[in-house]
């Protein structure tokens, strides 16, 4: 070694040591609470922020130039099944969950894989409707993901290695998990699916550092607890009310807001007489203890499988001259709701699709039921259908125009029911449906813009067939959606004018585009089928 070389080596070693000594920038609760930053550098929680507004402040891509979008890269999952995820972005790295509990860290500039995680899953899963996952949560140097066999995992963000593995419940008893968790303070909030398998639903909080369960809220009260008397006999034990779609959080009120799934068995009324609390409801929980603060049941004694597992959106808006803290919710049962999120009272509720089971919500907050909409062995026709007026695909809210957006479905169904027998781990639905079409009840879809202060529709963009795409809005006045024929669509969010489209070859089923900045250029990332594609304007 020469005399010159030694100091250089020492200097290099010192620099390396300094680099290694610098811990990776940790994801903080502060940045999660801040939501989507003006500089577009992050998307660190499912809905962009705790409000789930999915409204980006970015303005580089506009209604005027959106036609110029160019694909930057496409990532192929190489995995059986489709993306239903919301990718997260931090430090120019994308963290993505896919079907069958495969997950990746990708370079957001190139789409190149950095690491890949794959869980070994048992062959006898009871997940009812697809081996999917809806996304990560993150805190510190960890990512959090639920699994189809009803576990919650913490992964090391740098390697994808497991840090801890917590069991939510036994999958053999009908439990599964597909929800994107959220992190609130030092806790990871999750729920479990299984409403078709006679589970007893819950919302859990786990310590982010250790995986130790901090609290559990059962969505079905036990005997002696308020609400248990809304279940006839022992029906509460197998009442379902799973939680499989991410909720919202209000830091000021310290309340979590989650929608709950259908009561089980899905269709058979006599198997579970009563209102069936807290199924098909919105529950507001104290984030520190999981204690129920209030609830609102959208569909008392649901018999049409209308889970209230749509994504709640929070906003502060002015209604009749008064500032109100509201929660906006387009429900599978066909009604749009604006609730007071401090107490759960209904500010307004109006159908946003054709509803035959109820035309309005009464002053007491209960739907005013129409006769003849309890399924039986001979079948009854009801609108909306099983899939509902909308479903779990994310909605958006543009605060600058006070507009709520939803991909709505117009469809009806013949519902049948019969008395089922419960057997642990087996389907427990007590009925089914058959698609119903007629000239007076055509099946179609529409992107609808709704004023949450009045419930009135501002505009709509019709699809040939109902769309199951989630939405994204931007401050420049764009809304990104998709139809059910594989077209990615960009529209003017102020009037619904179609501005740009691209045939992705697969639907944005249940998933939304996200947007962020990379090297000064706004990107739009679109999950569709087995691909992620990044779009930007030309350099």
């Amino acid at each position: 070694m020469t005399r010159l070389a030694l100091p250089l080596v020492l200097l290099g070693t010192a620099l390396l040591s300094a680099q290694q000594a610098t811990p990776p920038a940790l994801v903080t609760t502060q940045e999660i609470a801040e939501g989507l930053p003006q500089d577009g550098s992050r998307w660190v929680t499912f809905g962009g922020s705790y409000t789930n507004q999915r409204h980006s402040p970015l303005t580089q891509i506009t209604p005027a130039n959106v036609k110029g979008l160019v694909s930057q890269w496409t990532f192929q999952s190489g995995t059986l099944g489709n993306f239903e995820t919301t990718p997260l972005l931090r430090d120019n790295i994308l963290y993505v969950t896919g079907p069958q509990n495969v997950a990746w860290a990708l370079d957001a500039r190139t789409g190149r894989q950095i690491w890949r995680y794959r869980r070994e899953l048992p062959s006898d899963l009871t997940a009812c409707c697809g081996l999917v996952n809806r996304g990560f949560a993150m805190l510190g140097d960890k990512l959090f993901m639920v699994t189809l066999d009803a576990h919650l995992l913490a992964l090391d963000m740098r390697t994808g290695n497991i840090v801890w593995d917590a069991t939510l419940e036994q999958y053999k008893n009908g439990y599964a998990a597909t929800i994107a968790p959220i992190v609130v303070k030092d806790k990871v909030i999750v729920g479990a699916a299984g409403g078709e398998f006679g589970i007893r639903g819950f919302i859990d909080a786990y310590e982010a550092n250790t995986g130790k369960r901090a609290w559990r809220f059962y969505t079905i009260p036990a005997p002696g607890e308020p609400g248990n008397d809304t279940w006839a006999g022992d029906s509460w034990k197998t009442g379902g009310a799973g939680v499989w779609v991410t909720g919202a959080y209000d830091p000021e009120l310290n309340l979590l807001y989650y929608g709950t799934g259908n009561p089980g068995p899905d269709y058979h009324s006599e198997s579970r007489l009563g209102d069936n609390l807290y199924a098909a409801s919105l529950v507001a929980l104290d984030a520190d203890s999981g204690t129920l603060r209030w609830h609102y049941q959208f569909t008392p004694h649901d018999v049409h499988d209308w889970d209230a597992t749509e994504v709640p959106i929070l906003a502060d808006i002015t209604i009749s001259g008064q500032p109100r803290k509201v929660l906006m919710f387009a429900n599978r049962n066909g009604f749009y709701y604006t609730l007071d999120r401090t107490n759960g009272r209904v500010i307004l509720a109006k159908p946003f699709v054709q509803t035959t089971w109820a035309k309005e919500i009464g002053r007491d907050g209960r739907p005013m039921l129409e006769a003849g909409h309890t399924p039986d062995e001979t079948g009854e026709i009801t609108c909306p259908d099983i899939t509902g007026g909308t479903n779990f695909w994310p909605t958006t809210f543009d605060p600058s125009t006070r507009t709520f957006f939803v991909n709505a479905r117009e469809a009806c169904m013949t519902f049948y029911s019969w008395k089922p027998d419960y057997k642990a781990g087996e389907r427990f639905t007590g009925g089914a449906g058959q698609r119903y079409t007629s000239t007076t009840m055509p099946v179609y879809g529409a992107l609808r813009a709704i004023d949450p202060a009045t419930g009135e529709r501002k505009w709509e963009f019709k699809y040939l067939r109902p769309s199951t795409a989630g939405l994204l809005t931007t401050a420049s006045g764009l809304i990104f959606s998709g139809d059910n024929d594989g077209n990615l669509l960009a529209l003017d969010s102020r009037n619904g004018t179609l501005l740009w489209r691209y045939q992705m070859g697969a639907n944005l089923h249940g998933t939304s585009a996200i947007t962020y900045m990379i090297d000064g250029r706004q990107h739009v990332l679109v999950p569709a089928g087995t691909t992620l594609t990044a779009w930007a304007l030309p350099r």
């Binding site: 081996l131 597909t178 499988d305 899939t387 040939l464």
Partner: protein, 265 residues
């Protein structure tokens, strides 16, 4: 539960590999005669099968399945058909249907099954073939020969009940299969194009015209796209095909058992 693309099961196919149970079915339906199973089977049948096979199982788009046992099928074979579907037909696999649910469906179907053997076939297949060649072959194919505007008929006689075939030929049934919906396109300039619709989205339409050319059109380039309410299939009344000739034609179709490469013409 989460959403269901109901009753379309396309998404289910994707996960079939992890769900299909490999165990061989029991040779005999263990739930036959079980009243609770029959009740459950009725609901399942109505929800999953009746759209094609009819609420009474006598066949609509799919075959009459009240005759299946009388024609020699076994519980075991029918179980496999329900679970795996029939490749190359509209009968889908049902990988998410549990075994006991499959037996429930069959238990219910047993209650609808004909106790006697089906009515013996009538008509002269040789003459029926001639009638087919004269009236049907320009739009339909059998064993690789014929027109393409209408559906392939190589197994229609095995897949549909006689009553349904008769109704269709006589013009007593409306509606059409996906891919055979009649349309008339009027371009901005030029004459109208008549054909059947192969696909469509918000922005484009793909058709086969009456000269059997497949083409795609940008909807913005069309003056009009008219979905024709009636099938392109004409009604063959008794003045065109008499009662005996109808027997012969149906008998010919009933002799077909799917595409047979040995008879490619």
């Amino acid at each position: 539960m989460r959403w269901r693309a109901f009753p379309v099961v396309a998404a289910w196919f994707i996960v079939a590999g992890t769900w299909t149970q490999a165990q061989a079915p029991a040779p005999k339906n263990p739930l036959e005669g079980d009243q609770a199973a029959i009740r459950s089977g009725m609901g399942l049948f109505r929800a999953r099968c009746a759209d094609c096979h009819g609420m009474d199982a006598h066949g609509v788009r799919g075959p009459d399945i009240t005759q299946v046992w009388a024609s020699g099928r076994t519980d075991e074979g029918l179980f496999t058909t329900i679970k795996n579907g029939i490749a190359g037909t509209e009968m889908p696999a049902q990988p998410r249907l549990f075994d006991h649910e499959t037996w429930q469906i069959l238990a219910y179907l047993r209650t609808l099954a004909a106790s006697n053997r089906p009515e013996p076939p009538r008509g002269d297949a040789e003459n029926g073939k001639k009638i087919y060649q004269a009236n049907c072959v320009s739009c339909h194919r059998v064993n690789g020969a014929g027109g393409q505007l209408g559906p392939d008929l190589s197994r229609i006689g095995a897949a549909r009940s006689r009553e349904v075939l008769e109704l269709r030929i006589r013009g007593g049934v409306e509606g059409f299969l996906p891919g055979y919906e009649p349309v008339t396109l009027t371009p901005a300039t030029g004459t109208a194009v008549v054909g059947v619709k192969k696909n469509e989205d918000l922005f484009s339409v793909q058709i086969m015209d009456t000269r059997e050319r497949i083409q795609g059109y940008d909807k913005s380039s069309l003056k009009e796209l008219q979905n024709n309410p009636r099938s392109a299939m004409p009604a063959f009344g008794s003045n065109r095909i008499g009662e005996k000739e109808l027997d012969d034609l149906i008998r010919y179709l009933q002799t077909l058992r799917g595409f047979d490469p040995s008879v490619i013409q």
